[in-house]
Amino acid sequence: MLAVPILAVVSSLTFPKGEVWLHLWRTQLFELVGSTFLLVIGVGAGTLVVGTGLAWLVVHYRFPGRSVLEWALILPLAVPAYVMGFVFLGLFEYSGPVQTGLRRSLGEGVRLPELRSYWGVVLMMTLVFYPYVYLLARTAFRDQSGAAIETARSLGWSRAQTFLHVTLPMARPSLVAGVALAMMEAMADFGTVATFGYRTLTEAVYRVWYGMFDRIAATQLASVLLLFALALILLERRSRGRARFTQTGRRGPALAPSELRGWGAAAATASCLATLTLAFLLPVGQLAWWAAAALRDGQIAPAFGALLTRTCVLAAVAALLACLLAVLLAYAGRLHGTPTVRFVVQFASMGYALPGAVIAVGVLLPLAWVDHTVAPLLERGLGHPIGLLFTGSAAGLVLAYLVRFLAVSLQTVEASLGKISPSLDDAARSLGARAGAALRRVHLPLIRGGLMTAVILVFVETMKEMPATLLLRPFGFNTLAVEIWERTSEAMWQEASVPALTLVGVGLLPVIVLVRLSLGSSR
């Protein structure tokens, strides 16, 4: 089921090359591949530096505010990239409040660098995606034995040398995994790059589909994007598959963080606080400001309640189905650890790396085919018209969400199942329970917490998803993300603020879960 979209996209490469494709090939394709590549590299580098640097600070040093900043730095994960993007545009564009204020106070010639540029997009995505690296790096640094570091120090290495030659290499697998996640997100993003006028492959899929009405060329573009995604998956796999640096004997005590004083402490607090302000406090504050103004001006869509309900129902259906599938897959893997089952599980978890635009194209082609071949047959059989089952309903959209986010629920469920000792299974079976009963009566109650987490994660991811939703939404069916896109594509920042603030609020749920988990695992 999950392979169908991928195969549909890949098979498009064998279609006849239309006029649009040839044109793209001659003019833009090279540039699109280049700009996508540069964006992914830029965001990778940005998140690596920011995420690793902050993690290093909070793990190895004590400074004022550390205990709060340590978890607060995860908060920007709750802000969708496209929301961050439009808030910054609204604040910092030439006609925005910041630059207008600067010109008034410093003179007419004062200009900030143009935000609608490569560096602007990289900055936005770095601010939103650095927590992936930060989270993984923080765990890696904290779990490192202090012994290796102390040994290096006693051999006369400076702090910097020790960090470069001991700490970083030991944490490398975690860092690469975090950076790979950030890169996947950057590549899959549509809303930010479209609002900033930065052309990427994802943005081009949408533009060719809706601007040139050429599905085939859009699908062929999507397959180029798919190649990118596969490269990132490989990168991430290799980083995880690489042998961990072994630590001799039991893990020694972690290195005690050293106390920072004076300027050092001030600098550490300031850099954490500055990141937090830019990536969370400022955008959320500005959104709240706009939302208040929107309420005052009566700009809340009259159907906002219905919009919210619809978004939540859709996300809930996707989340529950994803978890149901995840339990089935994970349990099958537990019962029969055959290579086939393991392969299916691995394959299913690839979806997260596939950009929504690719999945949307891949889902729609087969569904449209089903609608136009199977439906007429059914109608003849049933004797009355049934209309369009798939392309005319939210089924296609839910399917796309499942393909994309099954990995998220699968990982969570597998992790919780893995904590249950196999002897419990044996005990249940020896008491005569069949596999299904054992699952229902033993495993499910035990992994309730993990299941809840999985549901919340998929629920929020689904709510935030934009490109697939835009391409597949059923007619007259808006969601919060679509509403934000429609407003921001006409640069109505204030009108977009209420749905955006709602999304950020909902996005805080899984972040709170994450924060609690990471605090729980603290020393």
């Binding site: 006028g197 601007g211 369009l388 309903s393 007259g476 069916f477 109505m492």
Partner: protein, 334 residues
């Protein structure tokens, strides 16, 4: 997979698609891409006058097009209302629209705002014209679209990105009128002035007001919307090419779908929408110009005076859309 997909389809079909029942008596189903999503005062007037109910569904042009195509002969839609002639032309070419024509429509709507093959008809006119900062630019400095390529505008010009259909239609009409080679020279001259590219007409107007650039190209109704809120906004339209081809115009317009179930009612609605009374309501709701020259113009935009429209048939926007996109790519216009 199919079992749960079926369940889902049934469960969500209620919220998503809609069943294909036979239409009730005396109703028209409209798919509208206009920004009001069918909340048109003119529709209410029509229902009051004829008793025919109007059900309307909104979406963007591309989506409505895909939707109609996917629904094929099962579509519940009787009328497609879309913005930009290019979108209507595409729908007609894909066989989604049927003939809509009568002496009344011909008398109400000038020929260049209708499909030469009578598959769609313009309802409102949206002029895409030069906008300038009234504190920094004197109207005498402006003349034509082409003259924006003059080096005196270097670093002072704001344009919308070329991927947007409004600009594609502007270039397409130019290509129809004067050929690709001359149009490309014009676009290259614009690009040589290092324009600031902004993907929103509203933002271009704000950038002109703030002094980021001094001149730009936008649709007039965006300025209308801003002026309605802030009368002191320091931007005014300039009507270009008045000695030659006239200002570029585009339309929002309507066509009857190829598989309409309520054909007679749909036809009646379109005829009504071209009449002077409905025209005024339809255009005023968004500060657009009525397509019918007999209809009164909103006082806010009447101040901008009468202007000569480019009388190239707006169908050119569709015919040369692909050529325009390719030209923009060649000329480095992003």
């Amino acid at each position: 997979m199919s079992a749960w997909a079926w369940t889902l389809a049934v469960a969500l079909g209620v919220g998503g698609g809609f069943g294909v029942g036979m239409g009730e008596a005396a109703e028209v189903v409209v798919y509208s891409a206009r920004s009001h999503y069918g909340q048109e005062p003119a529709f209410e007037a029509f229902t009051k006058k004829t008793g025919i109910q109007i059900k309307s569904f909104g979406g963007d042009s591309g989506q409505l097009f895909e939707r109609l195509k996917a629904e094929g002969d099962k579509t519940p839609a009787d009328i497609l209302i879309s913005v930009d002639a290019g979108n209507l032309w595409n729908a007609a070419r894909a066989g989604l629209l049927s003939r809509v024509d009568s002496p009344e429509i011909q008398a109400n709507i000038p020929a260049h705002l209708r499909d030469p093959d009578h598959r769609w008809v313009g309802l409102t006119v949206r002029a895409r014209t030069i906008m300038y900062n009234t504190r920094k630019v004197r109207p005498e400095e402006l003349s034509t679209y082409e003259a924006l390529g003059d080096p005196k505008w270097k670093g002072r010009l704001c344009l919308r990105t070329s991927s947007h259909i409004y600009n594609q239609s502007l270039l397409a009409t130019m290509i129809k009128r004067q050929g690709e080679a001359r149009t490309e020279i014009t676009v290259r001259a614009w690009m040589a002035n290092m324009p600031t590219l902004i993907n929103s007409d509203t933002k271009i107007l704000e950038a002109i007001a703030a002094g980021q650039c001094d001149v730009g190209l936008t649709n007039t109704y965006y300025l209308g919307r801003i002026l309605a809120k802030d009368a002191s906004f320091p931007v005014a339209p300039f009507w270009p090419n008045q000695q030659t081809s006239g200002a570029h115009v585009n339309i929002s317009g309507a066509g009857v779908t190829a598989h309409a179930r309520n054909r007679a009612e749909a036809f009646k609605l379109i005829e009504f929408l071209t009449s002077p009374e409905a025209q005024q309501m339809f255009a005023d709701s968004n500060f657009e110009y009525p397509a019918n020259p007999q209809a009164a113009v909103d006082p806010l935009i009447a101040r901008w005076g009468k202007f000569k429209q480019d009388d190239t048939n707006v169908a050119a926007a569709g015919e040369f859309q692909a050529a325009a996109t390719r030209l923009a790519d060649r000329a480095g216009y992003k």
